[in-house]
């Protein structure tokens, strides 16, 4: 009798392990963009973005885990100069060429997270791997902004925010015009994702 009481008490004392509640999210492509900036000849900063990307994420608030997988369409690079006019090529065409993104051969750039760090309830950092021009390197993205809640109009559950990071393009073999056109690329990613 005593043993059953003790065992019962021991079982009752085990912290109640909530079952993992993994939520699945899909990136909203109309409100999610990878923006980047690079130094130009030491004079100014050129900003650009990729117009087309897609991705999915998972979030487990109880276990403080998150993961994300994003695929960026490299040919969708857009820096405001896309019409060649009388020139041989526009800047965006040059960026799509083998000098830079080589989009014919590498139509996609991907990011796959490997670890997530939370600050309380908020996602603070994502460690992962970025694959560009067929080369894979680590990348850490810092969440400057993070919020989950209901969309004010359609009421769907969503998470959104802004993440930043830096890469050296030469790490991926993209060496054209370094350092006149900077090696260090700053990334600024605005994103919104709906719960599936």
């Amino acid at each position: 009798m005593m043993r059953r009481i003790i065992i019962g008490a021991m079982i009752a004392a085990i912290p109640f392990a909530a079952p993992a509640q993994v939520e699945n999210y899909t990136i909203d492509p109309i409100h999610s963009f990878v923006n980047f900036s690079v130094d130009h000849l030491g004079f100014t900063t050129i900003y650009g973005r990729f117009d087309k990307s897609s991705g999915k994420a998972t979030l487990d608030r109880g276990a403080k885990k998150a993961s994300i997988e994003v695929s960026v369409d490299t040919a969708s690079v857009s820096t405001g100069d896309n019409d060649k006019g009388a020139r041989a090529r526009s800047r965006d065409e040059h960026l799509r060429s083998a000098d830079f993104f080589n989009t014919a051969e590498f139509p996609r750039m991907t990011f796959k997270s490997t670890a997530a760090t939370f600050n309380g309830d908020n996602l603070a950092e994502l460690d992962g791997q970025v694959t560009l021009l067929g080369v894979t390197k680590p990348l850490t993205l810092k969440l400057e902004r993070w919020k989950c809640g209901a969309h004010p109009f359609n009421k769907k559950e969503m998470c959104g925010g802004v993440a930043t990071g830096k890469v050296k393009r030469t790490d991926f073999g993209m060496k054209y015009a370094v350092p006149a056109i900077g090696d260090e690329i700053s990334l600024m990613i605005g994103f919104e994702a709906y719960k599936d």
Binding site: F33, F43, H151
Partner: protein, 195 residues
């Protein structure tokens, strides 16, 4: 004696070198007006205007300058320009009367006539922005500035970054506030070639 004193006094005047205002034209392929606005309190949407043109003058000795930039409102670009099966894309919506009304107001104009210097470096522009036919003061902080010969063309270039902010409702652009933010952050990245 009076003449000697006058002569000495004249020699003591700071050497007023011939005023040297220089004039520059913005390179449209390396000059863009970017903006950022809050979206539903979840994220930030950035955009830019693909087409703008302008000039500035600068006189480093007199510490004066002027600037005039014209932005084509229809060139607004936020990454969603193809509607697909929707009634309109975001960029089309921005060109509509809900926002820039680019059919009626094809241009936005910024004119600055006051420039604050730190030594020979301009650090602030005070001017007027005319958007949707409404003119209001906008100050831009020059965060980055460098003048030097272009490494390849050898022409004299001045380039940099400038930032500012405005409330779009002050120009009558009220659609979607506050879900789509009223506060707009402005970033101008520029390169200009000496005339």
């Amino acid at each position: 004696m009076k003449q000697i004193v006058a002569g000495l006094a004249f020699m003591l005047l700071p050497s007023a070198g011939v005023a040297s205002p220089e004039s520059y034209t913005f390179d449209p392929r390396h000059t863009f007006v970017h903006f950022g606005v809050d979206h539903n309190d979840f994220s930030t949407i950035w955009g830019r205007f693909d087409r703008s043109s302008g000039k500035f003058t600068i006189d480093r000795q007199a510490k004066t300058g002027t600037l005039e930039v014209v932005v084509e409102t229809a060139s607004v670009s936020t990454g969603d320009g193809v509607r697909g099966d929707r009634p309109r894309s975001r960029d089309e919506h921005l060109r509509s009367p809900d926002f820039f009304n680019s059919a009626e107001f094809p241009r936005m104009l910024y004119k600055a006539s006051t420039v604050k210097f730190n030594g020979e470096v301009p650090v602030e522009l005070q001017g007027q922005l005319t958007l949707l036919g409404v003119s209001r003061p906008v100050t831009l902080a020059v965060d980055r500035w460098k003048c030097a010969p272009h490494a390849v063309t050898k022409r004299m270039i001045c380039g940099g970054n400038a930032t500012g902010a405005l409330k779009r409702s002050e120009y009558g652009m009220k659609w979607g506030i506050p879900a789509t933010g009223d506060d707009v952050k402005i970033l101008v990245t520029f390169e200009a070639i000496k005339d």
